[in-house]
Symmetry: C2
Subunit: 107 residues, 2 copies
DNA sequence: GTCATGTATGGCTATATTACCATATTGCCA
DNA sequence: TGGCAATATGGTAATATAGCCATACATGAC
């Protein structure tokens, strides 16, 4: 197997990092249902509007969401349907951890 | 849709955070092929042995890898096959970004 | 034009993360 | 037992991240 470059992993880690935050995870999750504007997302996240705006900027930067303006409101849209696989993976890890706990394996 | 708790996203973000680092992404990637010991992983990552050890601790903590000792060496093993879906998702985002770039969409 | 609303940005502080070095721990072997 | 090899842990400094407040920017209404 040929070694992948540092760049290779840096680019992918950048995307993963964008996902890896509770508020951003929430945002991505709710956007799976339907597109929402900043105000609605701010309500759902329960943080300062500026904070949510910054989270959205991070998600947009790596291409996970896109946005378009309609009048005053900026609507954010989930750009990658594959995200379901990401969430599935997280669930799978949690389930696996639970199973291990149940069967008495530690650490 | 009922709102998921803050806890819900925190737990999942914890796992995502563990994945979201270039070195740890590399580690997870190579472990998909076969289990490796700390020394081998240290070589591949190209960082200090203690640094790699700490990365492995982080991965172990969230249940992405397990380890077992055989003599002096500690062998790390990928615990969740679902990780492929995670990697697929990252690729998918990158491909999607490239397509957008090509079609002249900016920002 | 002014005003109000929705969103983004700058500035700042608090906290988290990362990496390295030094050192402790563990287990094998002479 | 002493010494060596593989790995883990503690400490510390540099950097990154996250949150809030204040404020700038953009758009539509008047």
């Amino acid at each position: 197997m040929r070694m992948k470059s540092t760049q290779h992993y840096q680019v992918r880690a950048e995307i993963a990092k964008a996902i890896a935050h509770p508020s951003r995870l929430l945002i991505l999750d709710v956007l799976r249902n339907r597109s929402l504007c900043v105000g609605e997302l701010t309500q759902l996240v329960g943080a300062d509007q500026s904070t949510v705006s910054k989270h959205l900027t991070i998600l947009k930067k790596v291409g996970l969401v896109t946005c378009h303006k309609r009048g005053l409101t900026m609507t954010y849209r989930l750009e990658c349907s594959c995200l379901t696989r990401f969430f599935d993976c997280l669930e799978s890890v949690l389930v696996s951890n639970l199973k291990k706990q149940e069967s008495g394996v530690r650490g």
